[in-house]
């Protein structure tokens, strides 16, 4: 009982980031939901192995592992894909299409213009997965380098270099996309 309640108190507040981590690894909403459910159940079963005061690195490591496992399964299942399909950006439509239906849009979200949102999302989508996950954990969960290293299972130096590279690429993608839009407009 006590265990059940402790787990809920510690783990539930981080579900938003867990969902984003899963989403940005899988690029699909319903897969991300499945991964979060499975990961939370696994975390609950293994709750006794948690040491240390901060549940986040441990929890996100489980979410991440579950997401990567789901990716492998998906790849194995879908190894017959047309070239067009393979190179088409995944779920681009889904993200944009689902936005109005999203149920917890804050006032802040509404202020961000739809095109800015689409722009930043597609820039992030262009990054390799190992870069996306450090961005999610650092920028939205404000996890320390040390915490990210623990969650991702790499040394802290690697976290720092991945983060630097991810930001560099993001900046580049964003400028490119803006200049492309401008050329189109002309």
């Amino acid at each position: 009982m006590e265990r059940h309640r402790n787990f809920e108190r510690m783990a539930l507040p981080h579900m938003g980031t867990a969902f984003n981590l899963a989403y940005w690894l899988l690029r699909n909403r319903s897969d991300a939901e499945d991964v979060v459910q499975e990961a939370y159940l696994r975390a609950y079963r293994a709750f006794d192995t948690l040491t240390g005061p901060d549940i986040r690195p441990w929890l996100f490591a489980i979410v991440r592992n579950t997401a990567y496992r789901s990716l492998t399964v998906r790849k194995r299942r879908a190894n017959v894909v047309s070239i067009e399909e393979a190179f088409a950006p995944r779920d681009e439509l889904e993200i944009d299409g689902q936005e109005p239906a999203s149920d917890d849009q804050s006032a802040e979200d509404l202020l961000i213009s739809r095109s800015e949102q689409a722009l930043v999302r597609s820039a992030l989508a262009k990054l390799p997965q190992v870069f996306r996950e450090v961005i999610v954990l650092r920028e939205w969960e404000e996890l320390s380098y040390h915490g990210i290293a623990e969650a991702v299972g790499v040394p802290m130096g690697t976290v720092m270099s991945r983060l630097a590279r991810a930001r560099e690429l993001l900046g580049k993608h964003l400028t490119q996309m803006v200049s492309m839009e401008n050329t189109n407009a002309l």
């Binding site: 539930l12 984003n20 939370y40 609950y44």
Partner: protein, 262 residues
């Protein structure tokens, strides 16, 4: 300018990862170097813009995860106890049997087996007394209600709609009270099956917490008893010919408020 020395510090500065000493040195440098200031500003803008990419989580996900975990907790609870008691019993007795004559051993084994089965039956029946059975039914009915999105068969805030709905379906009429003023909002009612009989279930809500109140006729009066199976709080009492079982993930104190109100 010592840009090479500081350019690698810009991101740790932004991320709040620089020790105090290096921090002030880096800030001083950024303030005096146009190029680093520009780069720092770019990083900050990017950080801010990235917030737009965050994907909102479907709100129902929290409920689904909580239900899965509640079921898991209930399952562990149910499987945990009987297995461990049984294995503890047999160990020392078996060792003693090895040294006696074969026929005696057989007779003893038979007797022992009878003893074990009798003991298990006894302890089982003691464990599974009526209250425990009802508690188990109440927990599973509540969780079932949470699992299905439509936990109510008659949805209404109005006590005058909910009460008559039960009238045609049960051979008793539960008391349906409007507790909005006390912070318990009536959501509706449904029928369920607890302890071998059809019972009325009233669903109340306090903030986001759902409370199921199970009601059926009972001969005795009894004072409120609180238990906490599987992470839920359950309080049960009998008054004016009715048994009440209230279950929720609300705190014990909040749930006990209900015993005064209903």
């Amino acid at each position: 300018m010592h840009c090479e020395r500081f350019s690698d510090q810009l991101e740790p500065l932004l991320d709040g990862e620089l020790p105090a000493l290096e921090r002030s040195a880096t800030i001083n440098h950024v303030n005096s170097c146009a190029e680093c200031a520009h780069q720092y500003e770019r990083l900050r803008t990017l950080q801010h813009r990235l917030l737009a990419a965050r994907v909102p989580m479907p709100r129902s996900l929290v409920d689904r995860v909580r239900t899965r975990i509640a079921l898991e907790a209930a399952e562990q609870e149910a499987m945990g106890t009987p297995v461990s008691t049984r294995s503890n019993l047999s160990q020392p007795a078996l060792g003693a049997l090895v040294r006696v004559r074969p026929w005696l051993r057989q007779a003893a084994a038979i007797l022992f087996a009878c003893g074990v089965s009798a003991a298990t039956t006894l302890s089982w029946s003691r464990m599974a007394n009526e209250r425990d059975l009802i508690a188990r039914d109440v927990v599973s009915a509540h969780v079932r209600g949470l699992l299905q999105n439509n936990s109510v068969q008659v949805a209404s805030l109005d006590t005058h709609t909910v009460k008559p709905w039960f009238a045609g379906r049960l051979d008793f009429t539960p008391v349906v009270k409007d507790l909005t003023a006390a912070g318990f909002r009536l959501v509706g009612g449904r029928l369920d099956y607890v302890g071998g009989q059809r019972v009325a279930v009233l669903i109340y809500a306090r903030q986001l917490h759902q409370i199921s109140v199970f009601v059926w006729p009972s001969g005795q009066e009894s004072a409120p008893v609180t238990i906490a199976p599987n992470g839920f709080n359950v309080v049960s009492w009998s008054r004016s010919g009715m048994s009440f079982w209230a279950i929720s993930d609300l705190s014990q104190a909040e749930l006990e408020e209900l015993t005064q109100l209903l």
